[in-house]
Symmetry: C2
Subunit: 269 residues, 2 copies
């Protein structure tokens, strides 16, 4: 079963919402947890226990685990396993991007059979969309997915993403087109995109793109579900809005986390 | 003491060469090691024991450690410590890039006091040069360095890096200019650049840039020390050519590794 088929099934059964797992110092403090690896572990476990059976997907943010080195990465491993065991898909938000054998290693780490492999991983294309090829191949072979950063939610992104390539297309449009072309060849729609939910317009023509689109920036960054609907209209792509702080700040009470996730998913905040 | 001062001192004492630590399957096999975390550990230790007292810097490639999850990341921690203990600088080649509190976490992980912190880290600016600000601030505060990907050594990079921004400057030129401006304000030259050694021209005007420049692609990718000299001319920047496979394939014999590193450093291969 392909990643996109599993994603569509989870969205149908649980609604279209991905929740970030971002154990940053401010949230740890809010949850009454120490800013150390035990705090990170209790935070991540709390999020998965509260929401693992009700959200379509989790997006653990690798950085907050890497802060604590190998001990933190061990917590990330456990978080991925626990989230999958609860029926949620896991998108490891690692924004990796490199070339050649190094890119192959990142693919193996996050899309292979190792302890950090989730269902999908985010990738950063500064070295060119084509440099990510080893990850595309492994995702396709393994029934997993990738989300290539296209148009990110932050205000500084346009300096790179809206720059014009040699043929006049913007960087983001060239990435959309390349992802669409690849998915058309494979028929697997394993190549998804990250498009922030904070912009009034996508900044690229998405017509015909049917791979998954991850839409961060919902909630604290200013994006809304209504805004996402307006942004993507009747796109054929499975759209997965993602909220982090807005949900997580409702914790650690599990019922409060579930209530906030439900409100956001329903477009009521 | 700033990172750039320590780098210049190491280059003066040991010559200008950085050696990558890239335990990929092909090299592990060549060294007679298993493709598992024990192989990675023995490989990394072998490189550091052979070259730690003679090369200016090491550039461990995070991907090859992440393949093995927390166990691999533990080996990366140990490799960083061992390399620094031998007097080499450590540039963690992680190509991280994100926004806000996530970028702050990556900065803390690789430039703070934690187990994965080296002397410098590579950063990827797809989300905009400005998004990397938390890393710039921490590097400056800690006497450490960052190398922002500008023009990478691979053939696919130009699709993003040579695209033209709103003011007509290329993405790479805008990054060079922003790094130069930042270093001029701080006087610390903590912001370095990655510029691949495989191109005939840099593709950007580096005049006045005095931060460190990491130049990968020497050896197996086709770059040479003579080419690096031609590429950067009489630049004021400390230039650090970096070779990986070309050196590593000479192992596991320590004398052979040292001999090959010496030949490359001297521009004789």
């Amino acid at each position: 079963m392909t990643y996109v088929a599993r994603l569509k099934e989870n969205i149908r059964a649980r609604g279209a919402l991905c929740v970030g797992i971002d154990p940053h110092p401010g949230l740890l403090e809010r949850w009454g947890l120490p800013d150390d690896v035990t705090g990170v572990e209790r935070f991540a476990r709390g999020v998965v226990e509260a929401l693992g059976e009700t959200v379509a997907a989790f997006k653990p943010q690798s950085a907050f685990f890497e802060v604590w080195g190998a001990a933190g990465v061990k917590v990330l491993e456990d978080t991925i396993r626990d989230a999958q065991a609860a029926g949620a898909l896991v998108i490891v938000d690692a924004k990796r991007g490199d070339i050649g054998s190094t890119m192959t290693a990142y693919a193996r780490a996050y899309l292979g059979d190792g302890p950090l492999a989730g269902d999908a991983v985010t990738l950063s294309p500064y070295l060119g969309f084509g440099s990510l090829e080893p990850a595309f191949e492994l995702a396709e072979a393994q029934g997993k997915g990738v989300y290539v950063l296209a148009r990110t939610s932050n205000p500084e992104g346009h300096t790179v993403q809206l720059a014009a390539g040699p043929d006049g297309r913007s960087v983001v449009q060239a990435i959309v087109d390349a992802a669409l072309a690849r998915n058309a060849v494979t028929g697997l729609d394993a190549i998804g995109l990250v498009i922030g939910g904070t912009h009034a317009t996508v900044g690229a023509d998405l017509a015909g793109f049917a791979g998954p689109i991850l839409v961060p920036g919902i909630g604290a960054q200013g994006g809304t579900i209504a805004g996402v609907r307006a942004l993507f209209g009747d796109s054929a792509a499975p759209i997965l809005p993602s909220a982090s702080r807005e949900v997580l700040a409702a914790g650690p009470d599990p019922a409060a986390l579930r209530a906030k996730a439900g409100l956001i998913r329903g477009g009521r905040v």
